[in-house]
Symmetry: C2
Subunit: 249 residues, 2 copies
């Protein structure tokens, strides 16, 4: 077989990873363990690209990755099984398939879906501690949603970008942004064409901060229009955040 | 204040514990970390008793424990907060209250409720790996329930007791036993006056084994009547099991 492009869907527990991207040597990253497994399968180095470069501690249930392979025998849909026998238990390949050569996990993506899991409790629950953020007292979902929906549309999200974000344009298009209960959790779900660095966590943290301190939900519009990170509230912790889907054409 | 009896409700992630009970020195147990925290609060050794002596890797969302205190100032309902500042993050005190001197977490308990969490997937999901047991292919819930309900009532559960169980009588009364879907999980829920050692896990393992291998669900009755551990199937892994409630008068 000639050179082929493989699209891979991954789930991972981000708790014990320094995020997706390999930056410093010796750090355990998802990209690092994935490329190590692929390199073992191929007998030479394989490089990967992901749709979302998730931060340290952020999880994924459906990260999308692509790589090029010159492997002679493994069919596209079998890379999943080959990888799962090499990957550690906190990363699993859920799906793999051969796609067109031009496919790029990051640049071909039309939108990303993130969910942030919250729960209300005066005491932290041991079984939730890796995967969600606890708020001590109940918040009003209607108020949270009044704030959340103000970011829908095309906006300059400078106020919610980390100082380290290097994007030329801070404009992103948010397709949906809402809170809803899901079992014992309250979920904040946001879909956009793309996100700035730490944008979901600073949006989540700011909306919660407003609600906790009795702020007017419409205040989020003023924060957005300020185009200054200092106008926004705190960044919600990484552990509640999941990359849950990437849409292509 | 004179000697008081305190009833405590605990949640814990059993993954990193060698079970409830302190047996060998150097083992990390829930009882060990709890008694260490209580001893720090009191300045002397405090002993505890639990309703269910959960095994290594088994979780609890509502374990009940009692201890006697001669502490001069801490009110019953404040032990919860005092403990949470000393306990590690995989154990939390959810509730505490002063109860009658005669209360005994184990001997006063009328029934215990356990839930076992299963999910069906060809691939293990990283976020579920500490807290549930994966079955590769979908099972029929009606068939599982046909087997599960045969254990309701008073029975000799020798077939489902671990060889190490030292109970004089192997008779227990099961009040309810059923499977039902819960979000992405299939839950096996069983309530009984008390349980033999590893009884829930060997029941769960045997019912699943029957279903996976096309056995007649009525076969569970024969296994029960055999009164021999060798008649039953495998023991389901600890990680799916949660002690979720203890009922008193």
């Amino acid at each position: 077989m000639a050179r082929r492009t493989i699209k891979l869907t991954l789930a991972y527990d981000g708790t014990d990873f320094c995020g997706w991207q390999t930056q410093k040597q010796g750090e355990r990253t998802v990209q690092g363990v994935l490329e190590q497994a692929l390199s073992l399968i191929h007998g030479h180095t394989i490089k990967t690209n992901a749709a979302g470069r998730t931060d340290s501690g952020v999880h994924a249930t459906a990260q999308v990755v692509h790589f090029h392979t010159d492997h002679e025998t493994i069919l596209g849909e079998r890379f999943k099984d080959a990888l799962n026998s090499y990957l550690p238990h906190d990363v699993r390949a859920l799906q793999s398939e051969e796609v067109e050569e031009s496919f790029h996990a990051r640049f071909s993506a039309r939108s990303r879906l993130y969910r942030y899991y919250l729960y209300f409790s005066p005491v932290g629950l041991p079984h939730f501690r890796r995967f969600c953020f606890r708020i001590r007292r109940q918040l009003n979902v209607n108020e949270l949603n009044a704030a959340a929906r103000t970011v829908v549309g095309v906006h300059d999200f400078t106020s919610f970008a980390s100082a380290g974000d290097t994007s030329a344009s801070k404009e992103r298009e948010v397709y949906s942004s809402c809170f809803y209960p899901l079992g014992p959790f309250l979920v904040y779900e946001i879909r956009a064409n793309a996100f700035l660095w730490k944008m979901v966590r600073s949006l989540t943290g700011t909306i919660i901060h407003l609600a906790l301190h009795g702020g007017d939900p419409a205040g989020l519009r003023d924060i957005l229009q300020a185009r200054e990170r200092s106008a926004a509230g705190p960044t919600a912790p990484a552990r509640g955040l999941f990359l849950e889907g990437v849409c292509y054409e």
